[in-house]
Amino acid sequence: MMQESPLVVLDRVYKSFGALKVLDGVSFSVGRGDVLVLIGRSGSGKSTALRCIDRFEKIDSGEIHVCGRRVDAPDIDLRALRQDVGIVFQSYNLFPHLTIAQNIMLAPVSVKGMHKAAARELAATMLAKVGLSEKLDAYPEQLSGGQQQRAAIARSLAMQPKVMLFDEVTSALDPQLTGEVLKVIEALAADGMTMVIVTHEMGFARGIARHVVFMHEGKVHEAGTASILTTPATPELAQFVGTGL
């Protein structure tokens, strides 16, 4: 049988902000059900790479394919792309004027035309998944940071994306609250969700990564399985995992 093509492909992607070269020929791919962990020092271009996948940034050259769609095409159907891709940021960005249920229902109702009653049920299901069933009718400000981030993940999942992107989703959280969010992502991995995860939590990365990409100065400096985190080949990665623990 022919091998299925990867859900996400970056092929020699270049991206600059003015004179600053941020992505300098980045290539990697993520197969269905794969978990790719993207690591690297602050400023190495991890967030930019993620943002390019969801077309929040336009690339200068190279190719990006997501679910068979060419993301760098000028006539890309952004809304179709973003139904396939869920993205969760470091700042949870729940809509403050809406309840958690309304936050989750907004996109299924307004994008997919789902009936409110069905969307509310979906919201309840998604919240149960992230362990927040009792917060359906709470407002974001009534939740802890960890709970808000889990609600934001539930909001993304409600659109039934094929790929989830996580950009340092625990960086704004206290260590006690980090664990509850990471557990949710681990459960997703166990469910077979395809994910690209940017994280500084090395223990978590080791446990969850099928593939690891280490970025350095806008390039993929080292890539491989989770084992490169314990036996790095390059001095840069060795130094990074040494200090980044």
Binding site: D54, R79, N93, F95, P96, H97, L106, V111, Y139, A152
Partner: protein, 227 residues
């Protein structure tokens, strides 16, 4: 010298005051409705990437904020007349007030729009919401919630400022007072009464905006945040 107040002849004419107060409220209502919409569109327009639209909206706001309301009213009044339109004093007053409050609404709404973090907008875009949906759910409604107190005090000020339209004989509260005092020679009493009427109108309007806020912003109601 002694103060000799006699309200009886003034109070006798209460139906006139009532009519005037109703017209003041009607004027304010029309102006707020039209001006609110114009101002919101103008705030959107000022952020437009189309330079012409942005400049037009900015020009309108500056022109209104730097001229007196009375002059604006005369400009609308004589302007419409000189190009051959004949409207009732009420319509002209409503249009002039709408143009005026529109500019102030635009400034307030602009501050509201600017208070929305880009992360909110990206989160909504990431959920595949369309541009219009993002604007409505994530920018406009939260922005209105944020600036609602400034917006409504501006609207109450407009109701009070509508008194100036008596100059083009719109038959609102102040015009009624002008008539009653010349009829009764009880000027001081008349304007005391009219001042009290405006106080009542202000309180009524504030109460109405407060109630509307509770309906529009359920979060405020639930969490007990004051408006």
């Amino acid at each position: 010298m002694g103060l000799n107040l006699d309200f009886s002849v003034v109070l006798e004419r209460w139906p006139l005051f009532l009519d005037g107060a109703v017209m003041t409220l009607e004027l304010a209502f029309m102006a707020i409705l039209i001006g609110g919409a114009v101002g919101t569109l103008c705030a959107v327009g000022r952020g437009s990437s189309n330079r012409f639209i942005a400049a037009l909206c900015a020009g309108y706001v500056e022109a209104i904020r730097n001229t007196p309301l009375l002059v604006q009213i005369f400009l609308v009044y004589f302007g419409l007349a000189s190009i051959g339109f004949k409207f009732s004093a009420f319509s002209v007053a409503a249009v002039a007030l709408a143009i005026n409050v529109g500019a102030y609404t635009a400034e307030i709404m602009r501050a509201g729009f600017e208070s929305i973090p880009t992360g909110q907008i990206e989160a909504a875009e990431g959920l595949a919401l369309s541009r219009v949906q993002v604007y409505w759910h994530v920018i406009l409604l939260p922005a209105i919630e944020k600036v609602y107190p400034s917006l409504t005090s501006q609207f109450v000020l407009l109701m009070l400022a509508s008194s100036v339209t008596s100059q083009i004989s719109a038959e609102e509260l102040t015009a009624v007072a002008n008539y009653v005092q010349s009829d009764t020679y009880r000027a001081f009493e008349t304007y005391i009464l009219v001042a009290l009427c405006y106080v009542v109108l202000s309180l009524v309007l504030r109460a109405a905006f407060w109630a509307l806020g509770l309906i529009l912003f359920p979060r405020r109601r639930r969490l007990g945040t004051s408006l």
